[in-house]
Amino acid sequence: MAREAYIFDAIRTPRGKGKKDGSLYEVKPVTLLSNVLCDLQERNRLDTSQVEDLIIGCVTPIGEQGGNIAKTAALAAGWDEIVAAFQLNRYCASGLEAVNLAAMKVRSGWEELVVAGGVESMSRVAMGSDGSPNALDPETSINTAFIPQGVSADLIATLEGFSREDVDRFALESQRKAAAASEKGYFAKSLVPVRDRNGLTILAHDEFIRKDATMDGMRQLKPSFEAMGAAGFDAIALTKYPQLKAINHVHSPANSSGIVDGAAVILIGSEAKGKALGLKPRARIVAGAVTSTEPTIMLTGPTAATRKVLAIAGMSLDDIDLFEVNEAFAAVVMKFQRDLNVPDEKVNVNGGAIAMGHPLGATGAVILSTVLDELERRNQRYGLATLCVGGGMGIATIIERL
């Protein structure tokens, strides 16, 4: 019989506003991560010498997040020296890639217990501050028809005919669902407060949610990517999509994912290791997949990755009870639902990154913990998490609640 990879626990910090006035701004990334490792250890009475590897997604791994933030945080958390660790970067998929990789390690039999997750302090290490030849090397940019993600999101909206009203309505719904879920304590199981060195609470809830969001308020916001588009990126996009006359710039800060700080970790292992350590499996990782699609439109990967992961698992869309599709931009999720004919009742039922924020390297692990909590709450069986990813990539993971 094939070896299986199980999730024994999944926890995350609340997401703090990723600006100077955000609650987690004062918390160093290494502390954000090492604290959540300590919480995982404590909650599971985990003998850390049994953990073989720690895989941490981080998209801007420079400065305070540089070196190898995973190993540094493991040491800072006082974890056993035997724990190996590394940081990976698959852009926005990093946190979920860490999970998939951990599952592969366990399923291969080479390792028995792995911790996977991610960390991103966007308030302290600015998105894009690591530089990248895709945008900063003209030759590469020219040859690969680089455009900023926001223009890609607007391109999706234009091709699909999503209006500003449509994407704003989607965003408002994300806010409403997130506020309701937060209020009802649906995130309580995986949410661990960020505390200071004295045990005093710094942040205990997702602080980005705007309970008072309204269509009128959102309508006032200027489109975020219009100027960039007008500067010339629209022209690049239209060269690739000549069927369009113009790009309709519909995405604004209100219907794009929030810039936030946060960390998440998931404890993954084999059945035998779980038994030996007295850990009860909460879910089985059924399958994981990555793929890549047309890079200029860039953000259509979730559909392809979902099809691929379903094929690997030998499952159909109808088998999936709940989907978490990262709300990088409203149009990304709307297109995913249209492509695969997935009803609203199954998608991001407790809101998403538009309401709560997208701590780049951590988000994949965050949304997987969210779907697991919700499967447990609803007594449902299968959950699928997927994200759009820079470069046109897509990632997806299916879990089965136990």
Binding site: K20, Y25, E26, K28, E64, R197, N198, L200
Partner: protein, 283 residues
Amino acid sequence: MSGFRYEKDGDKIVTISLDLPAGPVSSETISRSLDEVIARLESDDVAGVVIASGKEPFSSRASARELLNFPKLSRKDVYDRLAALKVRLRRLESLGKPVVAAIGDNALGAEFEIFLAAHHRVAVNRPDLLIGLPDVAAGLLPSLGGLVRLVYLLGLEKALPLLQDGVRLSPEKACEVGLINELVADADDLLSRAKTWIKANPAAAQAWDKKGYQIPGGTPAHPRIAQMIITAPAILRKKNDPTRPTQEAILCAAVEGAQVDLDSALRIESRYLVELLFSGAKA
């Protein structure tokens, strides 16, 4: 008005001096007094503020630990009180009017921390006066933003040795290193010098509240500062002074504070202080 004298002259310059009534001094009495006097300053028609040494420096009336009501309060209570005190000093330094410290007596610990919230510091050049932040000797770090303001004022390279060694300086020496801006030979000239500065600098504000302010020498991301930070823990370890744990906390709080904005830095300072206070380190 309890705690602070409040004297306004014909030029609308208010001189306040901490003059606490007899009895135990605590962070609470100082906080309450500051709150009252700052509220009055905020609502009064004022051209500037001189904050002068009181009749008796309160460092001679209460130790740093006594000021913090340790061990009667919980960690949370001490943290919250410090936060309240720091907010008051932020209000003082962002009053929108020039604030000058007129130092005519010893100014050590919490008292000097209050003076650090002034935009300009004048001291009497008496060689027997002592100025500085000696909290390290008590196993503590400055509690009222003094660590953060010293770093923002002088930069990490200059501020750290002063904080880690808890240096007490004569006014002349303090002026040399930048803790004091101006000296007067005669105590009788102190107030008039302070007022002269106020009149000459009606738009005074803290350097760190001006747009684009950079910490002298740079933040921890600056290559030279980074080099200093890399070796600092090793130097402390080699020195292995009895106050090493405190010096380590000072190093951490100073560096972390220089990585963020001033208000976050003030919180970080409190968190390290509360930890030290409750860590059982010897007073």
